[in-house]
Amino acid sequence: MNSTVDSNNLREEVRAWLTQNVPQDWRQAMTGTDQDAFVKAQRDWFNKLVAAGYATPHWPEGWPGGGRSLADQKIIYEETARADAPRLILFFVALYHSACTLMEWGTQEQKEKYLPGILKGEIWCQGFSEPNAGSDLASVKTRAELKGDRYVINGQKTWSTMAQYADKCLLLTRTGKSEPPQGGLTYLLLDMKAKGVSVRPISQITGDDEFAEIFFDDVEVLVEDRVGKDGEGWAVAQSTLSSERGLTLVELTQRMRYSLAKVAEVMRERGRASDPAIRKELGALIAKVNASCALADQYLLKRISGTEAAGDASIVKLNYARTLREFTKLGMSISGLQGQYFEDFTRGGSQETGNWTVDFMNSYNWSIAGGSDEIQRNIIAERMLLMPREPKNWQLS
């Protein structure tokens, strides 16, 4: 069977389904409304996608729509972006991070216990980052002490996406004492309703709260809910982090590309459509946005073909963060004073909140979180250009 024909079939099928199923009013439903309305809108959309098999194309055969190639998954994302459908942000950790970690590392019991719940709409969050740890994952300090058949956890996590809505948590803890930083980490599955867990949403500069802090006060987790061995958490976390395999950036860059039309829109609205200086900036931006799409696409191809090199992922992310900044800044700048007035925006809309100033502020999530631009530059310089690393014992003299 010819794979191009195959792909075209899938593309048409997805496109047709989206035309029928994307709620036309989802932006309104998620703009200026409260959290419940947002969660409901996300859940409705999730259920539709699960039913159609488009939520889990990356799961193995046997699961709804499962067993699809990365190329096919890419088609689904591209079409979702093209249709301006909502992003499944509330379920992303469950569908990718949790599922992929369980598939790769989970016991049969764990898979049976957790995977069906994900399809039913259980929300997961990630408990990796900690205060004052920044991009330095190895400095996890949250303690898990083994007492009989359970771990007792004390500590704090932060920047956990949508943790205030979560049912379960992927938790990285420190169990060892004297090992090197990456050693001594242990990976647990936590029930967010367990005694001693408390969550505090982080109020962001946009007024939104897409992230939360999680506090642990003698929280107990059974040993059977540990993923991998005690001390093997670093390796398990690595596969969690690479679970989406570049698909997110394919989706985001495609969404940015389709959003270029919104720049044209704001140019018209603000009477700047024929301003040559703005048109020139738009022309430059179009080239950069298309380049970001091409980079993300080619990165996915490298993952598919197994030719990914050290630093490739950093280049894609650093580039996306920069282009997104320029993109949102141009929109904001064209908006003029009007753009500086507060307006309601689409909750959890990430880069497409319908408000350029919010989009601009949100763009910093991409240059700061998930390994800041500075960390990406270190990686590119050291692992790709093979420039020397800073000495380990480099301390203030």
Binding site: S129, N132, G134, S135, D136, T158, W159, I202, S203, Q204, I205, G207, M332, G336, L337, G339, Q340, Y341, F342, T357, M361, Y364, N365, S367, I368, A369, S372, D373, E374, R377, W394, Q395, L396
Partner: protein
């Protein structure tokens, strides 16, 4: 090498430095982004609105340089006060031929609020009645009067805000340290005792008003950028990653150094322009200088704010931490004022 290089600070300069230092002390005692209710009584009690007013009208005779020093201090502390708008209006009164000049200045310097637009207005006059909209008017809800420049600069006047035909609408901005309003006039009658200038005089005064606004925004930007960079550098010295203070990483040091250089250049341009124009704010040359100072300072402020947000990492993205307050004020500053600054500067140069 020569022996003849001596330099003495003038009395006026020394006085201004004292005034500014005490303002900084007062404001830093209040904390960042303190609200209007707390700041305004201090502004009036300490006579800050009189800094730029001539001695003959009961002021401190510190000119535009003087009021800009205070704009910078208020920018530094992110104070939420209609100081810029009020000083612009008071300055316009000083430069009018109004008979009751002195009493108006006393009223507006001591409690009653006069305001003005920090952006563009579209206000026209017909049969002595005013119609149109002013945007970005600070504290219009609490002000008794507003400074109005009629289109084509036929007239500059004060209008009472407490009269029929005046509609005041709050326009919440992302910058929560400012309270801006739209003010709409529908056939509002002029009060001739409050007409500041008409005809050719109005053109001159309008031009002075917009230059003053540009300088005020520039000074706010310079003050804010300086304070923000200090805060950012302090943060980098304190915060550790990979066991080292972030301030030890050369890539971050170099970025801070560039920001420092940019701020210094904006500040130098502002100070130089102020000393060159003196009190002559209405000619084409002064207008162009005001525009250059505003453009450079506000674009530098935005650049500093954007870099500072990145340099702070996650904590800068939380509403608890004041980094974003500077960012939002910087973004708003860029969009206040009027016209297309870079183009206007070039037009003046090429004309």
């Amino acid at each position: 090498m020569s022996a003849s290089n001596t330099y003495q600070r003038s009395d006026a300069e020394s006085q201004l430095i004292e005034l500014r230092d005490s303002a900084r002390q007062v404001l830093s005692g209040l904390g960042l982004a303190v609200n209007e209710e707390k700041v305004w009584p201090i502004v009036t009690d300490l006579g800050w609105l009189l800094v730029g007013v001539p001695e003959t009208l009961g002021g401190l005779e510190q000119g535009v340089t003087g009021s800009c020093a205070f704009h910078a201090e208020l920018g530094r502390s992110l104070a939420a006060a209609p100081y810029a708008a009020a000083t612009i209006a008071i300055d316009a009164i000083c430069h009018s031929t109004l008979a009751n000049q002195q009493s108006l200045i006393e009223r507006f310097a001591t409690g009653e609020i006069v305001t003005a637009s920090l952006a563009e207005s579209a206000v026209a006059i017909a049969s002595n009645k005013v119609t149109g909209t002013m945007t970005a008017v600070p504290s219009a809800d609490k002000a008794s009067h507003v400074l109005v420049c009629v289109e084509n600069s036929e007239l500059v006047a004060l209008l009472s805000l407490n009269q029929p035909g005046v509609e005041i609408t709050a326009r919440q901005t992302w910058d929560t340290t400012r309270r801006l309003f739209d003010v709409r006039f529908a056939d509002v009658a002029l009060d001739e005792t409050l007409t500041l200038a008409s005809g050719a005089d109005a053109k001159t005064l309008s031009s002075r008003i917009s230059t003053l606004r540009d300088f005020a925004l520039a000074a706010d930007a310079v003050g804010g950028a300086e304070a923000l960079l200090e805060m950012t550098v302090e943060y980098l010295k304190t915060r550790k990653q990979f066991g080292r203070p972030l301030a030890l990483f050369q890539a971050l040091k170099h970025r801070c150094a560039d920001l420092k250089m940019l701020i210094s250049s904006a500040e130098a341009l502002l100070n130089d322009s102020l000393s060159r124009v003196g009190n002559q704010l209405d000619g084409a040359q002064a207008v162009a200088m005001g525009k250059a100072a505003k453009y450079l300072a506000c674009s530098v402020y935005a650049r500093v704010a954007e870099e500072s947000l990145q340099l702070h990492g996650g904590i800068g993205m939380t509403s608890e931490y004041p980094c974003h307050l500077y960012l939002k004020r910087a973004l708003l500053n860029e969009h206040l004022g009027s016209g297309n600054y870079e183009l206007d500067i070039a037009d003046h140069f090429l004309s």
